[in-house]
Structures are given as C-alpha cells and as structure tokens.
C-alpha cells in the first residue's frame, strides 16, 4: 500500500470514529438532560457542566501533548512530529473554544453576567491566545523547516507559561475575593451525576483521539501529495 493509500484509509477510519464519537455525545446529552437529576441550587443551567468540564480536561490534555511534541520535534527534527504537533494545536483550539463558550453559557443564569475572571476560565482564555498565536504563526511562515522550528519553540514556551498564569490568577483572586462560585467537579457528586460526568469524560476523550487521528491523517495525506507532486515536477 502506498503512503497516500495508507493515509486515505486512516482518514476514512478516523472519520468513522468521529461519527461514533458524535453519536455518543448525543447519548451524553440525552443522559444528562433526561436521565440525570436536576441540580438543586443551579437548576437546569448546571447541565452544561457535563460538556464544560470534560472539554476543559481535553483542552488541557491537548495543550500538554502540544508542549511535549514540540520538545520532541526540537530534539528529533522529524517533520512528522511537527505535523502531529500542528494537528494537536488545531484540535486544542476546538476544545478550548468549547470551554470558553460553555463557560459563559453556564455562568450567565447563575452569576448574572457572561464573564467573570474566574480562575479556570481566565487560564483557559490565555491558553486560547497561545494556541491562536501558534496557529497564526504557522500560517505566516512559509518555509516548512522554519515553520516547524518556530512552532516548536512557541509550543514549549506556551507549555512553560501555564503554571505561571495559573499562579498569577490564583494570587490575584486571593487578594481580590470574588463572589463565591459553585465549584465544578467536587468529588461529592451524587451517584447519577457522577456517572454522567464520567461517561462524558470518556466520550470526550474518545472524540478527542478520533479528531486528532483524523487531523493527523489529513496532514500526512496533504504532505504525501505535496511530495508526490514535487517528485513529478522533478522528473
């Protein structure tokens, strides 16, 4: 099987898994809305929690993977690693945006305002900016080797930045007490809610893997086609 055929097959298979993931997400929705009890204090708005929290988990996971693959690239200089990092960044963008969208949707009915500088949301916001910078940088650099190097440096620095932003936000909040917000993800969730949350975590992780696999296959496919094109032009 030629490389192009192999990547085509990967693309099709991962697309199937994306479909599976979407179906499972619908199942999560159904379970969350119909089969899970409504939370006493927050009411229906709390249902978003089952989307918001797993999105955050996946977004941070993706960002961590981005940091690690960036470091691996600088070490190995393998262009496939660069393609993987870029795919991770795009998927990270999707889930980070999901967190930033679901957060205010959850917050508005409860806090009365779309945005507060909540610790986790603020950290996610700056993560979003780092990933945005990463993607914009990639579009602005044309030579593939240079693009890979620049992206890798930005990826590593971005990963290093996360703990510092976390501490900054934490220090800011302890010095400026904010209205007490209901903490998501407390371990003492009643059984049915916990089950829904765990189910959602699993589904989101699956969806993340499928998306990443698909995006990587697409990237390798485009790269293989470009190489074939260049070789044809050569001959």
């Amino acid at each position: 099987m030629t490389p192009i055929e192999a990547f085509e097959r990967a693309r099709r298979r991962s697309a199937v898994w994306i479909g599976v993931g979407l179906l499972l997400m619908a199942a999560v929705y159904v379970r969350a809305l119909v089969f899970t009890p409504v939370e006493a204090v927050q009411g229906l708005a709390q249902k978003i929690f089952y989307i918001h929290v797993p999105s955050a988990w996946v977004a941070f996971l993706a960002f961590g993977i981005l940091g690690v693959t960036s470091a691996v690239y600088l070490f190995l200089k393998d262009p496939r690693v660069d393609l993987f990092a870029a795919s991770t960044a795009e998927v990270a963008m999707v889930f980070t945006t999901a967190v930033l969208v679901t957060g205010p949707i959850w917050g508005k009915p409860i806090w009365g305002t779309w945005w507060t500088w909540d610790a986790r949301l603020t950290l996610t916001l700056f993560l979003w900016f780092v990933v945005l910078g990463y993607l914009v940088l990639r579009t602005a650099v044309h030579e593939p080797g240079q693009r890979a190097r620049y992206s890798a440096v930005l990826g590593i620095l971005g990963a290093l930045l996360v703990p510092f932003i976390h501490v900054s936000v934490y220090l800011f909040r302890t010095m400026h007490p904010m209205p007490v917000v209901l903490r998501p993800g407390k371990p003492t969730l009643p059984g049915a809610m916990l089950a829904t949350l765990l189910f959602s975590f699993a589904v989101f992780t699956l969806f993340f893997v499928a998306l990443l696999w698909h995006r990587y296959a697409l990237a390798r496919l485009a790269d293989a086609r470009a190489r074939a094109e260049a070789e044809r032009a050569d001959a």
């Binding site: 700056f126 910078g133 914009v136 240079q146 620049y150 930005l154 620095l157 290093l160 932003i165 220090l171």
Partner: protein, 226 residues
Amino acid sequence: MGELLRAAWAIAAKDVLLEFRSRTAFVSALVFTALVLAIFNFARDPTAVSAVDLAPGILWITFTFAAMLGLNRAFGLERENRALDGLLLSPASRTAIYLGKVLANLVFVGSVEAIALPLFALFFNVPILPVLGPLVLVIALATVGFVAVGTLMSSMAVNTRLAELMLPVLLLPFLVPPVTAAVQMTARLFAGRPFSEVSAWLRLLVGYDIVFVAACILFFESTIEE
C-alpha cells in the same frame, strides 16, 4: 564566557548607536507615552476614580506598548543588507547575539521608562520618591522578563509578513504573569503598603524571569539557525 560577554556587548553597543542615530522608535515611544498621559487624564472623572487607583495599570500599559514599539527594531535592523548573516558568520555565539539584542532592548525600554515614570508621578500625583528603591526593583524585574521573551518572539515575528502585528499576538499571553505582578506590586507601593505584603508576587516575578530567560537562551538558536 568573557568572549560571550564581549561579543554581546559589541552587538548591544552597535544597536544602541544605530537607534541613537535614527531615534525613530524612541521618539515614537515617547510620543505614545505623552498621548496615554493626556488621554487618561481627560478620560477619567477625578471625583469617581482616584489617580492612585488608576496609575499602576496605565503605567504598565504604557511601558509594555512602548516596549513593543522597540522590540521589533532589534531584528528589523539586521534585515537590511542581510546584516544578520554577518553576525551568524562571525565567531560570536548565538547566545551572545541573543544577549546583545536583549541588552540593547533593555537600554531602549529602560530609557523610555526612566522618562515616563517621573512624568506619571507628576501628572497623576502619586508619591514615588518614598518607594523609589522597591519601585525600581519591580520595574527592572518585570522589564527583564518581558524583554527577554519579547526579544525571542521578535526574532521569529520579524521574518513574517505582518511583523508588527505578529509580535503582540505572540507576546500577549506571555506578558500576563510579569505585568500582573508588576501592576499589583506597583499599586501596593503607591498606596504605601509595606513591601512584605507583595512577597508572593515578587517570588512569581523572579521565578518567571529565571525560567523564561533560561528557556529563551536555550531556544534562541532554534529560531535563528537554519
């Protein structure tokens, strides 16, 4: 080590001399500072918001934006006649090139800060003399942090088409820890609070400086070598 510092010094001196001759970025930064002062003065209601509350934030916005006017200059001036190749051909280590650029940028930003700070004290009527020592320390630490990262970012941004736009996009998230710390500490100092109250922020700032200066030195070579 001595050679490294000598080369860095030579590069920094050359950069400062060039900027001194043309003065364009420096003048832009000063004009920007004056504009900010004037606008905020007319924009606020003196009875509603006290100057002391507003001053730290405005001060640091001015410092960071003025810095960004100068940061792209550092590698921008190496583009004419491909002068950067000249630096890369020489025995000077890549770290020396980075340190030289950082040093030149620090001179630039430091000069703007040295002029802006007394102006702010004057127009916003904030007492800086009693806290001058700690204040200068805070300014120095935060400036080193964002100039170190900004210099690295500009070495990449300058090779892209919209360099002036790319630098802020890349740099903005990295400004959050040092600038937040600096604003908080500046506010406490202006309010006459004891310095010990801000020790946590100080630790954050010092930690940031150590980690990111080291990281930038380590990764600079990857942004400059092909």
